[in-house]
């Protein structure tokens, strides 16, 4: 706080220098009226599905006009907007860890759960109901096979320990790049599972053990991917036969007829938060929208348009079995999956670093070794 005050004073001191700037005093984006909502999300098929399943029905029901803003936001961008009182967006879709980081920094409005239907909340996954963010869908990171190299009838790795075993299952592999220090795409949990840690005993993670395990797989990884587009490329161009992939990416290739199969064992589940930046011009509308995304019928509609799993289990009542089997929270898959503990990533240690920052630091040193 202190810092931001001093920054403002600093700006005032120099403002005479930039008085020239007043010459172009162009109006800011028009202040939104009470019937508006500016909503951030990713573009592409994903954005289209969000629009069709959530936004259009919301507009029809409430009369609130929604402006979609298709862009992937970094934590720093949201932080900058809030810090500088220039919030131009009402609700933002961010990853679990980004959401928790922003929440910890005091950049977010509390989610008003009194607007939510208690019956819907009851059946919603606990971690998705954070005081500062709400998750309306989940997805997973899975081991994915190229079925030409690893057909179902032949032996193939079924868990991360076997994925790590390059003598028994030779072939190029691909894992997520850990430089962001986050669970997506960082392969931290997978490294521990490969080393024999049980799925329910992952957190708090032993970072030394993570990197000792990563040491073993390092020579066998052809590509450490960073973006979803890279996963597609790695799988389509046959860069690797065993790939750690986000389920949605693999499903899009399977639907396209590519020889890809998803292994649901030891799947890493995570989700995105809808958050409201502090100072959002239409915070109430954003609250209403977020409550709307908790509804089972909307989540069911979304899952059928884009294979992301509902956070509200009741949604499965309205999803055909064929589609449901594609989704990460399908009851049968849940038994063999684990949910990322985002809170662990943002926990701050005695040195003032979060676990996420610590992972990044270790990673940066590890890659050049």
């Amino acid at each position: 706080m202190n810092q931001s005050v001093s920054r403002r004073r600093f700006v005032q001191g120099t403002s005479s220098l930039i008085a020239a700037g007043a010459m172009f005093s162009v109006s800011r984006p028009a202040a939104a009226s009470s019937g508006d909502l500016r909503l951030n999300m990713s573009a592409g098929n994903f954005g289209d599905a969000i629009m069709a399943a959530f936004v259009r029905p919301f507009e029809a029901e409430t009369g609130i006009k929604v402006t979609p803003i298709y862009q992937d936001l970094r934590a720093a961008q949201v932080g900058l907007m809030v810090k500088n009182n220039s919030v131009t967006i009402d609700a933002v879709l961010v990853s679990q860890v980004t959401g928790l980081t922003l929440a910890g920094g005091g950049y977010l409005e509390q989610v008003d759960y009194s607007l939510h239907n208690p019956r819907e909340l009851e059946t919603t996954e606990g971690r998705c109901k954070h005081p500062f963010g709400f998750g309306s869908y989940l997805y997973s990171l899975n081991m994915v096979y190229n079925t030409k190299k690893f057909p179902a009838e032949k032996p193939r790795p079924t868990n991360w320990a076997e994925f790590w075993d390059a003598t028994k299952f030779p072939g190029p592999r691909s894992l997520g790049n850990g430089q962001g220090g986050s669970p997506l795409p960082g392969p931290w949990e997978e490294a521990l599972l490969a080393d024999g840690v049980a799925m329910d005993a992952l957190y708090p993670m032993d970072i030394d053990r993570v990197f000792a395990s990563l040491d073993k797989i390092k020579p066998h990884i052809r590509k450490w991917w960073t973006t979803g587009a890279e996963i597609l490329q790695v799988m389509r161009d046959g860069v690797a036969d065993l790939v750690q992939s986000v389920d949605g990416r693999a499903l899009s290739l399977i639907d396209n007829g590519d020889p890809i199969e998803i292994n649901r064992n030891q799947a890493k589940l995570t989700f995105d938060y809808w958050i409201i930046p502090k100072g959002s011009p239409n915070a109430l509308n954003a609250q209403k929208f977020i409550a709307f995304t908790g509804r089972a019928d909307r989540q069911a509609a979304f899952a059928q348009l884009f294979a992301q799993a509902p956070s509200n289990q009741r949604a499965y009542e309205q999803i055909p079995e064929k589609v449901a089997r594609k989704l990460a929270t399908y009851p049968e898959y849940m038994k063999t999956s684990f949910l990322v503990n985002g809170e662990w990533y943002v926990q701050t240690g005695a040195d003032g670093l979060t676990n996420s920052q610590r992972l990044t630091q270790r990673w940066n040193g590890w890659i050049v070794r």
């Binding site: 573009a43 862009q71 500088n84 980081t101 587009a229």
Partner: protein, 606 residues
């Protein structure tokens, strides 16, 4: 008029517009960032200390420098001869070649990087061809290693090397080379002793630009490189995704800036000093080897009679070795152009794909991705936004940048060094940090999300390009021509318009092209300052790219290739025509006519 004359006399006055923009949009917030990096108001070096405490960081820092140096070196080796051959080609050929050099710059960097993965991949073009011919049986690992990083980076920055070289080489008086030849210098010697020293300012500015741009790279190394091929900017970009702790991030950015400063002072930042201090340049160029040179000169004395006898023979056989040299040069240029254009061709082919993914070879032919571009107002709207912003940036930065370059070449070298460094910061800083700084700057002005805001944010980088390129051109500019004009009672404006401007036009055009392209392709800064209310073409491409690799992006790339071809051709045609008309009425026409002198030196022409 009087005011203007005063400003003209105080050269630093000319730099005011450029520095005003820089200060307001970037300078003030950059200082804010620096304060944050020192944890102001407690002012400690904890963040810097923490950075150097990690051995990995130091290794990555060294690696960043090494990759940048090697890339710059490769660019120089390829770029210098290419520029030389472009300048010495026939007028139409050289205009065409310049356009070809620039075409790759207009295809989005993201798409081009993707094209390289298609070419170099395990099942990529090269491997398929080699396996098909039977040279190899298992695919070569061409992708995800350092080599691929160099290929991708050189591809992106090579035009940045070539452009300053071309614009300076156009200004070199080729009659000087011809004079050297007439006095018996062999082509190589005439080149080495006359042409090369005159082109040195461009070598310096090109090297500098390329190096500085390379320091901030991160998308290409990440996409084409292996795990360990990370650059410092990768770290910075990754941290901004999940962290709100600006202190360490700002510290890393300033460390990168410091590296740039150190490297620049090592390699000589003085981009534009030849005219005012020819001696010092000569000294630095030849001083260390003076003893060797004396020896060589003495040995040379013996050879002189021999050479003198051979000379008349050579004189009457002007194309003695010309043919084989020409063939070699043509092959070289064709290879360079293939390297520059091949990824773009791949993109164009992929744009006609019938499938839902960007793929090569495409699974079928279809125009649906073009329809998806023209049929979607969000694509065409983004295109118009980018075009408008690009034009405004070009005008603003070319005018202010040219003025600044003028002012800088006329100040003392010490001041010039410092000011040049400041003007270069926006392209030295990692783009993402520039974006954060611009964001803070535009918040101060209340311009977030406005077109003017985006124009200002783009202009600071564009001005840097313009200044470097124009300053390089100016360094070969003979100020006595201006004095001569003034002695004949031409006012400063008249002198500028009639004498100076025609002579440095290639540099200004080059700077303008760069300014436009750098704005048209900008995505990182824009994403921060657009305030989510203004969408440019690269932003629109990026948003699609993150979710799915949609061939619409390839279609846009293909369309963008057409646009510059038309634009640059039109520009060159009109400018050349007006230049001719100008020179006819110019008292100093003979001097301004430098580019017209055929180069017999390298035997380029029959």
């Amino acid at each position: 008029m009087n005011e203007l004359r005063k400003i003209w006399r105080v050269p630093l006055g000319l730099t005011i517009p450029a520095f005003a923009i820089l200060l307001v949009v970037f300078g003030v917030p950059a200082i804010q960032l620096f304060l944050i990096s020192t944890n102001a108001p407690s002012f400690s070096i904890t963040n810097y200390h923490a950075f150097f405490e990690q051995p990995g960081n130091i290794l990555i820092l060294l690696q960043t420098i090494k990759v940048s140096v090697v890339t710059t070196f490769i660019c120089l080796i390829i770029g210098y001869p290419t520029a030389y051959l472009i300048v010495n080609a026939s007028k139409t050929a050289s205009a065409a070649l310049i356009v070809l050099v620039f075409i790759p710059w207009l295809t989005s960097g993201l798409v081009r990087t993707y094209a390289w993965t298609v070419i170099l991949g395990d099942r990529g073009l090269i491997n398929n061809v080699l396996i098909g011919i039977g040279i190899i049986s298992t695919p070569l690992s061409l992708l995800y290693n350092r080599l691929a990083v160099y290929i991708g980076m050189v591809h992106i920055v090579l035009p940045i090397m070539i452009l300053p070289l071309v614009s300076v080489m156009y200004g070199i008086d080729k009659s000087l080379v011809a004079a050297a030849r007439s006095m018996g210098a062999r082509p190589v010697l005439a080149f080495w002793r006359v042409f090369f020293p005159l082109s040195l300012p461009a070598v310096r500015s090109g090297t500098l630009l390329v190096f500085v741009v390379c320091l901030g790279f991160y998308i290409t190394p990440q996409a084409l490189g292996g795990l360990s091929d990370a650059m410092l900017s990768n770290f910075i970009a990754a941290q901004l995704t999940n962290s709100l702790d600006f202190g360490p991030i700002a510290a890393e950015a300033f460390i990168l800036l410091l590296i740039a400063i150190i490297m620049l002072s090592l390699f000589g930042l003085d981009l534009s000093g030849t005219q005012s201090q020819p001696d010092s340049v000569r000294k630095s160029e030849y001083g260390w080897a003076s003893a060797l040179r004396t020896l060589r000169r003495q040995v040379g004395e013996f050879v002189v009679p021999l050479r003198a006898r051979r000379w008349p023979k050579q004189l009457y056989q002007p194309v003695h070795s010309g043919r084989s040299w020409n063939t070699l040069a043509a092959i070289f240029v064709i290879l360079v152009m293939m390297f520059l254009l091949f990824p773009g061709l791949i993109v164009i082919v992929m744009s006609f794909s019938a499938g839902a993914f960007l793929e090569f070879p495409p699974s079928g032919f279809s125009l649906k991705w073009y329809r998806s571009f023209f049929g979607d107002s969000s694509w065409t709207g983004a295109f118009w936004n980018s075009l408008q912003i690009g034009v405004m940036v070009t005008v603003l930065s070319t005018v202010t940048g040219t003025l600044a370059a003028f002012g800088l070449t006329r100040t003392s070298s010490r001041i010039r060094r410092v000011l040049m460094l400041i003007i270069l910061t926006p392209i030295t800083f990692p783009t993402i940090v520039v974006g954060v700084a611009c964001y803070l700057g535009l918040v101060n002005l209340g311009l977030i999300g406005t077109k003017i805001g985006v124009v200002l944010a783009h202009s600071i980088g564009a001005i840097a390009y313009v200044v470097v390129i124009v300053a390089a051109t100016l360094s070969n500019f003979d100020q006595r021509l201006e004095q001569a004009a003034k002695s004949m009672r031409a006012g400063p404006i008249r002198t500028f318009v009639r004498v100076t401007l025609p002579l440095i036009r290639p540099g200004i055009i080059g700077g303008a092209v760069f300014a436009f392209i750098s704005s048209f392709d900008e995505v990182v800064v824009t994403s921060l300052v657009s305030g989510f209310s203004l969408r440019t073409l690269p932003l629109k491409m990026l948003e699609n790219m993150n979710q799915q690799i949609d061939p619409t992006i390839a279609a846009v790339g293909a369309l963008l290739v057409l646009m510059p071809v038309l634009w640059i051709v039109a520009l060159y045609l009109t400018l050349w025509r007006s230049r001719r008309a100008h020179e006819a009425g110019l008292p100093l026409a003979g001097l301004a006519d430098r580019a017209e002198v055929p180069s017999s030196a390298a035997g380029q022409r029959q």
